[in-house]
Symmetry: C2
Subunit: 486 residues, 2 copies
């Protein structure tokens, strides 16, 4: 039985506490913020989460899946909203499998309550970690109400304190590789209301996407009939020449400026950013130009934009994740990623599950070996999901509106339907299996190369939909390439 | 006339002070350490520096080149020391051009003295920057002797405070991209003594290299007949299988373990690191195995190893380098690199020169424009010299001992001799021109591709040295590829 400090009582810290307490360890969780069960700590900056297969695997291993099942909404498909308000529904899985939308706040609350049921878990709120003595697993906390400081010695410290991790900062004083990279886009939360009778205004079992190349809005259902939406938009406006515009977007086939309203007359197109959309008039014009179809669904869209905080998005990579048998980083503290694959939380939950498996394998008294193996096994997967998440941003923002991309999805769906043992699309590997992210990424890159060759076959773009002979030839070619490149 | 704070009075801070004071600005330099003219602040951790062409360009523009010329030693060639003590001399330039070795401490001293001659420069030592208010160009310094703190408001702040930059840390609190990456190798200083009569024991006009793949030692002459040497060695020992060993080293042609003494019997070879070479016996055995030829030149080599501190090497990249018209990073604070191209200081001096040119262009009252242009122009060059420096590490450590690499150098030398207007090798572009590093790197990569094709021509490896027909054919092919790929 060890004494364990978990810095951070968010999504990952609370689940980790349950895992470790169920093994018999004495667990103290220190959270900087207030108890989310008493205050809405995420107001205005939340992005709804989805639980994917690997998230469920971890929740099951911790014995809390049934509690979580009560607060989720299943999501079976992407629903694309184009500029004219036309909808296109693309299922996530040919087997009608779902991912599950959940509110960050609600999930955090139920996990904290589950943790608190265990007699050997103690939760401490308003406690900010201000220093970590790595060699002695000793953390100093400052209470943000009383300003009292306390020094807590443990056997093992976990840094589950998210992207701005204080534990990671302590590790970064030594020989520690670290990078933080802000992406061009910031975001704002947008709340989509339910109808007056409490029914949802859009299909709640879809992830709704408004792909607009330079901008993107998405919405995920809540249990109350409303949706939590998110507007993604560049931090700063950009002037883009038509060619550069196509090149940057990775969709070189579209000539000229992509969308009306962004551009008039010769010279480079100007795409507004958060820095140039600030007044009521600017915000109204922006939404009318790019998201006219969403305005009736969210009547106070402009007000919300003006009221809600603007948050930025960074990718954090670091290593090593562990310090001897004393300290380990977990979740966003180790691998903060962008939210476009909906895997940030799931990756953190898989960290917990892998750690638990390693404790099963090596025992609870062999922390040097367990932490070393944990860091070595998880770090490449953290890097892979970071890459996958940026890749999915491009896909959601640009490609879902690209006919060639939609054709590729259809061809892959058919390959999967006829050869489920041979062709599992990347999205399914990430969301519906426990395949390590590194392996999924590698397989996805192989699929890219194969599908590029398939789409270059003569007549495919024009005739695949209608001509069974072309379909057969495509299938033969894809499987041949798949076997040949294994 | 502006009031300017320079944080850091090292090599770059002192030169920048001279540039800005000569323009008429009021310059205060705050340095964390003691005055190097009164204390040896670099004891035991120095790597000798070389001034290259672009360093001289900046020193000339600042009007201090003649002062610096008095303390340098010209270096015309690399001298490779192989395991058997055999020497191979490879000139840096077919035109007998030199780079210039200089002691970091001596150079810092003369530049501080030059700066201090200017009435509008004020130097402050023992002043550690503990905070920067970026929007107001206000720095807080803590005196490490009196512990007094002072808050200094200026018009513009320059962070010339090196790799651990406090100014950069203040910028990193915002939307700031940052990465620090430690390389596998750490280093220790080794002092090579002169003969009893003050004459040097090795040719002082060469950079001496002991390339040993997993290890490397180098030495650069001082004016007193001695050399400042540096031992580079992995932070941790590694077990490497023979194949992996060759692959990692980028020299796939050598079968089996590379060097005697590192490996006996079947199984992976074990290459010691700083962590496993710690006792007198271990250190002695290590030098006897890998650097036997250097032991007579440095009789107290083992003692020095045991006594001198071990330092690590990191590459730091960040951006943006500037904050409005108020703050800019310069030198290592913006782009800390590894020392293997000898360009760290020269890159920082070029930063100063470019800034001075921009002030000439835009005037001394237009800092928003000047700093923005400075950051945009220099950042890609900082990234390029970081890449170039790692590239040169591989070259110095492995390739200089590779016959194919030596042949390539000879072929390139001949191409340059016969077609000086068309073929300027990468090393010459970096060390003997003011070509921006980004352009040099791009041209060097083009040369790589061309030389790869040239070396793959039948008979080249066997016959180039002896057969004029092969030489002519190689020349024709290389120039054809050069023209074709422009």
């Amino acid at each position: 039985m060890k004494s364990i400090t978990i810095v951070g009582g968010g999504l990952v810290g609370s689940l980790l506490a349950i895992f470790l307490a169920k093994r018999g360890h004495k667990v103290n969780v220190f959270e900087r913020r207030a108890d989310p069960r008493t205050t809405n700590v995420y107001a205005g900056r939340s992005i709804n989460l989805v639980v994917s297969h690997r998230g469920w695997t971890a929740l099951k291993a911790a014995g809390v899946n049934e509690t979580v099942e009560r607060i989720v909404v299943p999501v079976y498909a992407r629903m694309m909203h184009d500029r004219d308000g036309q909808l296109t529904r693309v299922p996530y899985s040919i087997e009608n499998r779902a991912i599950h939308s959940v509110s960050r706040g609600e999930l955090n609350k139920v996990l904290l309550s589950e943790a608190e049921k265990l007699p050997n878990v103690h939760l401490h709120f308003h406690e900010q970690c201000v220093d970590v003595d790595l060699d002695n697993a000793r953390c100093t906390f400052k209470n943000d109400i009383t300003s009292a400081t306390a020094s807590i010695k443990a056997d093992v410290v976990f840094g589950a304190d998210g992207a701005p991790s204080a534990v990671r900062q302590a590790m970064a004083r030594g020989r520690f590789n670290f990078s933080q990279e802000f992406i061009e886009h910031d975001y704002k939360e947008v709340a989509f209301p339910a109808n007056a009778d409490g029914t949802p205004k859009m299909d709640p079992q879809c992830l709704h996407i408004w792909p607009r190349r330079y901008y993107m809005m998405m919405g995920l259902a809540n249990q109350d009939g409303g949706f939590t939406g998110t507007l993604f938009m560049p931090h700063t406006a950009s002037a883009v020449t038509p060619q550069a515009s196509s090149r940057n977007a990775g969709a070189a086939k579209q000539p000229g400026p992509a969308y009306p309203g962004s551009h008039s007359g010769p010279g480079p197109a100007v795409y507004p950013g958060f820095d140039t959309v600030r007044t009521v008039a600017e915000v109204t014009a922006f939404f009318q130009t790019h998201f006219a179809d969403a305005m009736p669904i969210v009547p106070d869209l402009v007000d919300q934009y003006l009221r809600n905080p603007q948050s930025n998005l960074a990718i954090i990579r670091c290593g090593p994740w562990t310090h001897r048998d004393k300290v380990a980083l977990i979740g966003d503290a180790a691998h903060a990623i962008v939210p476009f694959y909906g895997e940030g939380m799931n990756a953190g939950y898989e960290d917990c599950k892998v750690l638990n498996d390693l404790l099963n394998e090596h025992g609870d008294d062999n922390w040097a070996m367990v932490l070393d193996a944990y860091g070595k096994q998880r770090k490449p997967n953290g890097d892979a999901i970071a890459d996958l998440s940026m890749r999915n941003f491009v896909e959601m923002r640009d490609l879902v509106a690209d006919p060639r991309f939609i054709l590729r999805k259809k061809i892959e769906g058919r390959l999967q339907a006829k050869h489920p043992d041979q062709w599992l699309p990347l999205y399914s590997q990430v969301k519906f299996t426990d395949t390590p992210y590194v392996d999924a990424l590698r397989e996805g890159q192989r699929h890219d190369r194969i599908m590029e060759q398939v789409l270059a076959m003569p007549g495919v773009e024009e005739k695949w939909e209608s001509d069974p002979a072309v379909q057969r030839e495509v299938e033969r070619k894809a499987l041949e390439l798949l076997t040949g490149s294994k």
